[in-house]
Assembly symmetry: C2
Homo-oligomer: 443 residues x 2
């Protein structure tokens, strides 16, 4: 199958402008979506379970009559797991263990230290009380997403994990429930869309209010998450998934072709870009792609995504490739090169770096250990993979000795008066123990 | 001055409902503000410097003709510092040093580990390239905010720090510039409002595009920050400041009165609540407040804030006080009690915990060391003080050995096929080195 994929060269005029327009992704928030979501969120906030049931019956074509029917118990999750093949169960368990072990290293301890005058300063780290995990339902059900969103919360020590997953027409995905069981989800509700987000954010009689909502979803879910942000925490709102493969030209072109496909097959908006200093290699990969795409069940999606948003970029050398990788700040960066450690050192911005010819993104998507929820659309410039740190929060600790307080008050007082905050100054000055300045207190 | 402040008792009917309505704070986003900000952001995004100059002249009543006039050089910052009193400069420098030293402990290192089969997993931590710090101008200028927002970025190793501060009618605050100089701000622009946020988010010819914008601002600034979120990172959007003081009744009532005032004097929406198991003590504090308020230059603000949003809460005992503190999840929690360490252990949610009778919030606001940018309105349930971690981001590292890749591929392949993602499966299977399964590659 012929593939019409953009080819760039860094040597050509206007390269950076072309690159910028290739990468551009503005998540347009449709006004009609905004209105619909506002209505759903307000209804659920006001009428609780009744509205959740109403919207669920309407959008998921169900006939629920009581909120109790919306819950799936741990026993039902266990039963679903028994219906999943042994091979798949073993893979889920192996993946869960690896993801757990990697995330264990992200746990942050509390700390404190004492100063010479006895004042103690510190940072107390605590897990969130309760977290909601949104899992898309229907055709595109991703059990791997269940593991990736739930495991860091478990490792953080979150008290209770509530999962929501819509079951359109009542269809329940056993693999998703098996993943939920293995990951240790406490409660599952078969609801989705903006109504699920609103229920988690504000609570209903049956669905407990959570402190943070994570997990991917369609435009209604994303819009609802943005709307409830502040009442609860949310994770990053993701754009389309993307990969940037940098190859020195010495990897099997079929491997690189398939690595690019594995990104492109997600959806029509996914982005797969190959950078190489070897022009012949780019042509070899293209030939591989045109041959291999015939074998792909998702070839229609792959073709659209590659032709709309894919690209081959020919660079002068590997240093230039690293410069471009830092401009792109890709969600997934694959360094299919010799000495990947050396090149990874030059990378400042990327969600995850897949190093060497034996590290395709697909391994990271499922089971290498690191999280597959990663910053998209260049947001790796300022944000991080989902991690244990997203389910812990910090409280500063300040415990002044009387001597320490007195010394600090003498610093704070002029600053407070410099800001015309007199009560701040006086509150500090009350703690000054030096007799000579004690007179200021009641001024 | 008589103060009409709410009094609650946990013993009375409907206490929790009353508490909830006391704490309720919905940040209403006015449609007219939304429209105005949308227009400003779009104009600046399209016309760059020209629009920034236009809005600055209009809103700040200035007569700027070229973008170069908007910048304040490091030399001018140094000159401003010389105009500030020695006492204030010394306080700024002492505060900066303490804030720096505390935040040093928040720095997170990169890490990696090797598995038995040679696969390396890790997490690379890098600072942001460039950060914008918004500093409000005009009357309410807070040099302490400059230190608190800039120091964690400096400690994180951010490459360049750009500060924006509006100068209405051309009025420049020397203390703010001195703080910027001491904190190590690289460039200062005298712009503010939504136009400053847009300029930082998208860049203009003169104002560099940043990766994240932090710092407090009015409703226009907050709305603009929400709007550009995604293009750049932002910090939390803060609600009104609040304090919850828990006192066992053994602290000087004047001290507690002034600690409450120091919160209430911020603005009319600020919230100051006292919890005590000692009813007589609550009356003593109230008497202190009614006496001391006469001495306060900001007494009108203090009175409105206390009468609208303040409260005294009488509890059964200290355990109950801790339960309520966890419901409130206060920005500032003061434990003015014996054995504060013991009680702090029971606190799960608070921005900062001020422990003991010698630790008024004011010390933390200026110079104790921890950050004064803290989660408000109960968001301490899921978020943290501003810190070094807000200016660092993480990239996952995955470097599979050929043996490791083969083992992982056997886990990933069934999971990918379970999700109907065939290219993911094949991309993984290419890396299987077992001869018996190698035949699957070209299926």
């Amino acid at each position: 199958m012929n593939l019409n994929i953009r080819e760039f060269s860094t040597g050509s005029d206007g390269f950076l402008t072309e690159l910028e327009s290739l990468l551009a992704w503005d998540s347009v928030s449709d006004l009609s979506v905004q209105d619909a979501v506002t209505n759903i969120v307000n209804q659920v906030r006001q009428h609780g379970d009744a509205s959740v049931i109403e919207f669920t019956n309407k959008f998921d074509r169900r006939q629920v009559t009581s909120a109790a029917e919306l819950e799936i118990s741990r026993e039902e999750m266990a039963a679903a797991k028994l219906r999943v093949s042994d091979e798949l169960t073993a893979s889920l368990e192996a993946a869960a263990k690896r993801v757990h072990d990697y995330h264990e290293r992200q746990k942050q301890p509390s700390w404190q230290y004492q100063e010479a005058d006895g004042t103690i300063l510190g940072q107390k780290v605590t897990p969130l009380d309760r977290v909601g995990v949104y899992v898309p339902g229907g055709k595109a059900a991703y059990p791997s997403s269940v593991l990736m969103n739930v495991m860091p919360a478990k490792v953080a020590g979150v008290g209770e994990i509530i999962m929501v997953v819509p079951t359109p027409d009542g269809f329940v995905n056993d693999i998703v429930l098996a993943a939920a069981y293995i990951a240790g989800v406490d409660r599952v509700f078969t609801i989705g869309g903006a109504q699920a987000v609103a229920a988690l954010a504000y609570g209903t009689d049956s669905i407990p209010k959570v402190d943070k909502i994570v997990g991917p979803g369609n435009i209604f879910v994303a819009t609802a998450k943005r709307m409830v942000f502040g009442a609860v925490g949310i994770d990053m709102i993701a754009g389309p998934s993307e990969i940037l493969v940098v190859c020195d030209g010495k990897t099997n072109p079929d491997w690189i072709a398939m690595d690019l496909f594995s990104q492109a097959e997600h959806d029509e908006d996914a982005q797969a870009i190959l950078i190489s200093p070897d022009k012949q290699f780019i042509h070899d990969v293209k030939a591989s792609m045109e041959r291999l795409i015939e074998t792909q069940s998702r070839r229609d999606i792959i073709k659209v995504s590659l032709e709309n948003r894919g690209a081959f970029v020919h660079v002068k050398d590997m240093d230039e490739a690293m410069d471009i990788a830092n401009i792109v700040a890709a969600e997934h960066l694959e360094l299919s090169v010799d000495e990947p450690e050396k090149w990874a050192e030059k990378i400042r911005h990327a969600g995850a770096i897949f190093m060497g010819r034996h590290t395709p993104e697909a391994l990271g998507d499922y089971c290498a250990g690191p999280n597959h929820v990663l910053p998209t659309s260049g947001t790796a410039r300022f944000s991080s993979p989902l991690g244990v740190y997203d389910f812990q929060k910090r409280s500063s600790l300040i415990n002044c000795s009387s001597e320490g307080a007195s010394a600090l008050a003498k610093i704070a007082s002029p600053l407070a008066r410099g800001e015309s905050l007199e009560a701040h100054a006086m509150s500090a000055e009350y703690r000054i123990i030096d007799e000579q300045t004690a007179g200021q207190h009641g001024e």
